[in-house]
Symmetry: C2
Subunit: 125 residues, 2 copies
DNA sequence: TTGCTCCTCACGTCACGTGAGGTGGC
DNA sequence: TTGCTCCTCACGTCACGTGAGGTGGC
């Protein structure tokens, strides 16, 4: 069980961001100390890493939550649970959408690289 | 001379965004009609394209303005103007900083691509 | 007991989105 | 004259940043 400071440092996010993600329902502390300190499990770290890695793709936090929930459902629900099917569909949709965004971002990056080279040339006269 | 709607459509930005960039000093209409309609030159289009292409690199609008101003100064000031030297330095700084951000974004994108493939696999069981 | 870590408000910020109500131009 | 385009407020939103004032835990 990890306090918020340790969690934030390990995933390189601010305390505020971790609390905000909790407020938005993306993560939740497993429990609290008597004094009210949040205690997170290793799974929270995994979630936060996922969120951080997906961030450049431009999903909002509600979408992130849906994605994470679907993944979680797929991992925890029994094979015969009908919810698994829906979770798999949702996850597949997000994977596809994310793939498209990867391509778009890749193109934008290529454009930016060219532009930056141009600016560099201009600065040298 | 182009009205805001034409400008916005050509660079694929909202009217609000174009007006906001004007408010922040990134662009300015060459003149207004008697009725108050903004009239922009082709140069505004160039600036907006530059801003849009740099956006994925995460500079804020104040930085964008400084970059654009430096580029403009380099283009318009005479060779013997001492301001040219400073403008060239500023532009070089931004070009370098932008280059670093391109690399970082490239790495983040590679990580995201792997993650998306993983999610896609998970969704197919 | 002393720091360092954490807590909850709650207001601020950045880059816009979104009407509300009104006027301009082919 | 009729649409379509534009105008200026001005409040709303998203994802946090940043104190203010107070308490917890080794």
């Amino acid at each position: 069980m990890h306090q918020i400071g340790e969690v934030a440092e390990r995933v390189d996010l601010s305390l505020r961001t971790v609390r905000y993600y909790e407020e938005m329902g993306l993560i939740a502390p497993e429990q609290r100390t008597d004094g009210g300190f949040r205690l997170f499990t290793e799974e929270t770290i995994d979630r936060l890493k996922l969120i951080k890695q997906m961030k450049p793709l431009g999903f909002n936090l509600a979408e992130m939550r849906e994605l994470i929930d679907a993944r979680e459902a797929l991992r925890t629900l029994e094979t015969d649970d009908p919810g698994r099917r829906r979770a798999a569909d949702v996850l597949a949709q997000y994977a596809e959408s994310a793939g498209v965004r990867c391509q778009e971002l890749n193109e934008q990056l290529a454009t930016a690289v060219k532009l930056v080279r141009q600016l560099s040339r201009e600065s040298r006269g």
